[in-house]
């Protein structure tokens, strides 16, 4: 139990859409180990985002239970949920969702607001986080001065701000070009490997999903029995020629293209 970062039991989610009931999730049971890097794959409309929202305490299941770090969070009243979202969960969005009027370091500091950390320490750890995601030279830039990939790095740093039990990423590469996508996935992989951060990525893109350690498949709100190892994560290959590469390679040894 204790080594589980997240666990769900028989999650159901029903929506009422124009008088019709839509079952967005049905009997979803899963366990995520501490230090896991999981991708949940599925076509659009399969309930991926709904699941992620429930895992991140943004939404509540119709039935079922969610345990975060072993604590049942299903029945935590709405007014206290923010504490869980602040301290136990880090969100990464498809559209980055940085505050445009705050610079990179301020954006990363934002979730630390209201914590007991003193101002100076907050700033220090925000800088460290930006360094960790490879943005140490752009900490004073506002989002519009950053590239899409850089913005997503800031968002990832922000997700890590309060040292959460789990990072939930909803299509984190959806708005990025091919090259940047893999950079971001590599960053997530690196954080997982080096910091032991538990990460869940939701995506419809199998190439992205396969970058995780473990892949789960969601279809029509149901979790499929099959589970794949993320081969790419273990043995990364060049997206162009498919040959095996090392995680830190900049150019593919096979085709010579920049990764």
């Amino acid at each position: 139990m204790n080594d589980l970062a997240l666990k769900t039991e028989n999650l159901d989610k029903l929506y009422k859409l124009g008088g019709r009931h839509v079952q967005a999730l049905s009997d979803v049971t899963l366990e995520i180990q501490r230090g896991d890097f999981l991708s949940i794959m599925g076509p659009s409309g399969s309930g991926k985002t709904t699941l992620l929202n429930i895992l991140g305490c943004l939404d509540k299941p119709t039935h079922g239970t969610v345990y975060l770090n072993g604590e049942n969070v299903t029945n935590v009243p709405e007014k206290n949920l923010y504490k869980i979202r602040k301290n136990k969960v880090g969100f990464v969005f498809q559209t980055f969702n940085l505050m445009p009027w705050l610079n990179a370091v301020e954006n990363v500091e934002l979730p630390m607001e209201g914590t007991k950390k003193p101002k100076a320490e907050r700033q220090k750890s925000a800088r460290e986080l930006l360094e960790m995601v490879g943005l140490s030279k752009r900490i004073e830039h506002r989002p519009h001065k950053l590239s899409a990939g850089e913005q997503q790095r800031v968002a990832i740093a922000r997700a890590l701000a309060n040292n959460p039990a789990i990072v939930l990423a909803d299509e984190p590469t959806g708005n990025l070009d091919a090259k940047t996508k893999y950079e971001i996935m590599r960053l997530l992989g690196k954080l997982n490997a080096e910091q032991g951060t538990t990460i869940v990525v939701v995506t419809h893109d199998s190439k992205i999903g396969s970058r995780a350690r473990r892949m789960l498949f969601l279809n029509d709100g149901k979790l499929l029995k099959k589970e794949k190892k993320g081969a790419h994560f273990m043995k990364p290959t060049c997206p162009n020629c498919g040959k095996e590469i090392q995680p830190d390679d900049i150019f593919c040894a096979g085709c010579g293209k920049k990764l």
Binding site: K83, R85, K86, F93, T95, N97, W101, E109, P111, R158
Partner: protein
């Protein structure tokens, strides 16, 4: 409080980020503040003027009554129907037109003169203790004023020459000469070539005690300066009767005879005698003067009452205007903030997703509303301080103490006592009012932001994020 510092900075940036919207709120709120400052200020100025006028008038009437009763044995004999002495100075001089004071409630009359031969005849009447002939002649400049009845030329009096018989030994026994000497000395028996000036006269002629003053081309020596609270006498200058008759070219003429009966009981008898002898004369006894003053007081009370009613009516209009301004401003703040909240739904969703509580979100929006209100409050206070009189004039057309005379502002016309004026009070907002209104503006801004902020705090993060 370190945490709030960050919130505050963020709120400031959010306000600055939406300049047009911020300006809209600031303009609406500050105009409202200016109105809130100006209207009560205008009302206060007018109320002050009304009270001042009313108390001036009370003092004036009280003064009159005292004078009349102390001169119970006095009969004023003249060709004018109203009072001539004891303060009412009926002879508001005008050459066939209205006096400068406007309509003076029936006491206005021309200056009329009669031959002094009447003096010896009246002195002969039994029961008469003393007879003091007086000449009053106003001097000033002729001005033309066009009225709805045509053009009138009339005299704007600048001073009134009062001639009294300085060779008469009775003079010292009766209150004919002013008693409140503030400089120099009073006129005494046997004086000639000298004048006693009022305070107003010294200003007008620009002279003081022991100076020479030229009156109607003759030089006089100023022996003293007196002070009076009786408005009508404020421009009276006293000299000997004979000299007054000479310089005004009214030799042998009088405008009034003050007759003193031996006792109060004899007043009516003496009055009848005089009327029999000179039917053209008006004889004013203390009793008739009291009657007149009472009816005058009643009329004035009516006038002041109707003025006050008018003021009340204008006030209720003013309060309505304030109400409209407050409601309109609240609505503008409300809708602008609501729009802002709607527009920032996604931002709210993100903030919630990264762990902001409902309270955090709510206080963020409230803070933004408050910052706007404080800015607007300051701007409004400045506008209000500078523009209070103008705004009052536009919004309170019935009240305009700041520009026209307050009397006119209150009654719509001048009070019927000539020269009875109040000092024009300018609509100046008090510090207390400024503070109260400023606090009110901040409150208003906060009330206007309350619902939008609450809406923001209740936004479901999931719903908000779905709008992507």
């Amino acid at each position: 409080m370190v945490k709030n510092l960050g919130v505050f900075t963020r709120a400031l940036r959010n306000v600055a980020r939406r300049k047009v919207r911020a300006s809209l709120i600031v303009v609406a709120l500050s105009l409202s503040v200016a109105i809130l400052i100006s209207i009560p200020t205008g009302i206060m100025a007018n109320q002050e003027a009304a009270e001042q006028l009313s108390s001036n008038y009370d003092a004036y009437l009280a003064n009159m009554e005292t004078e009349i009763t102390t001169a119970a044995t006095l009969l004023e004999v003249s060709l004018s129907p109203g009072f001539t002495a004891a303060g009412f100075g009926g002879g508001r001089p005008s050459e066939g037109g209205f006096g400068e004071g406007g309509f003076t409630g029936g006491f206005m009359s021309r200056e009329s003169f009669f031959n002094e031969t009447a003096v010896s005849n009246i002195t002969a009447i039994e029961g008469v203790a003393a007879v003091i002939p007086v000449l009053e002649k106003s001097e000033g400049t002729l001005v033309t004023r066009s009225t709805q009845f045509g053009e009138f030329e009339f005299l704007r009096p600048e001073y009134t020459i009062v001639g009294v018989p300085l060779d008469d030994s009775d003079l010292s026994d009766y209150p004919v000469l002013p008693s409140e000497i503030i400089e120099g000395r009073a006129l005494v028996e046997g004086d000639s070539g000298v004048v006693l000036l009022s305070e107003n006269n010294t200003d007008y002629f620009g002279v003081g005690v022991n100076d020479q003053v030229n009156i109607l081309e003759r030089d006089f020596m100023v022996v003293g300066v007196y002070s009076t609270t009786v408005t009508q006498e404020m421009n009276y200058l006293y000299m000997s009767l004979s000299e007054a008759q000479e310089i005004t070219e009214l030799e042998g003429q009088l405008s009034r005879i003050d007759v003193y009966a031996e006792t109060e009981d004899l007043v009516d008898e003496v009055s009848d005698e005089i009327t029999e002898m000179y039917p053209e004369f008006y004889v004013n006894t203390a009793e008739s003067r009291l009657e007149a003053i009472t009816s005058m007081a009643e009329r004035q009370v009516d006038l002041v009452d109707s003025a006050k009613a008018n003021l009340d009516e204008t006030q209720s209009v003013a309060y309505m205007e304030i109400g409209v301004a407050v409601v309109a401003t609240s609505l503008i703040v409300l809708f602008t903030m609501l729009y802002t909240v709607r527009e920032r739904t996604q931002e709210i969703g993100v903030l919630k997703a990264i762990g902001f509580s409902n309270g955090n979100i709510m206080s963020q929006f409230m803070l933004e509303g408050m910052i706007l209100s404080i800015i607007a409050g300051l701007v409004g206070v400045v506008i209000g301080m500078v523009g209070a009189p103008m705004i009052t004039q536009v919004l309170l057309t019935g009240l305009s103490a700041s520009n026209s005379g307050p009397e006119q502002a209150i009654t719509g016309r001048q009070i019927g006592v000539p020269g009875l004026t109040v000092e024009a009070s300018v609509a100046t907002p008090t510090v207390e009012l400024l503070l109260v209104v400023f606090a009110g503006a901040v409150l208003l801004g906060m009330v206007g932001s309350l619902y939008p902020a609450w809406r923001a705090s209740k936004t479901s993060p999931m719903e908000a994020l779905r709008r992507e």
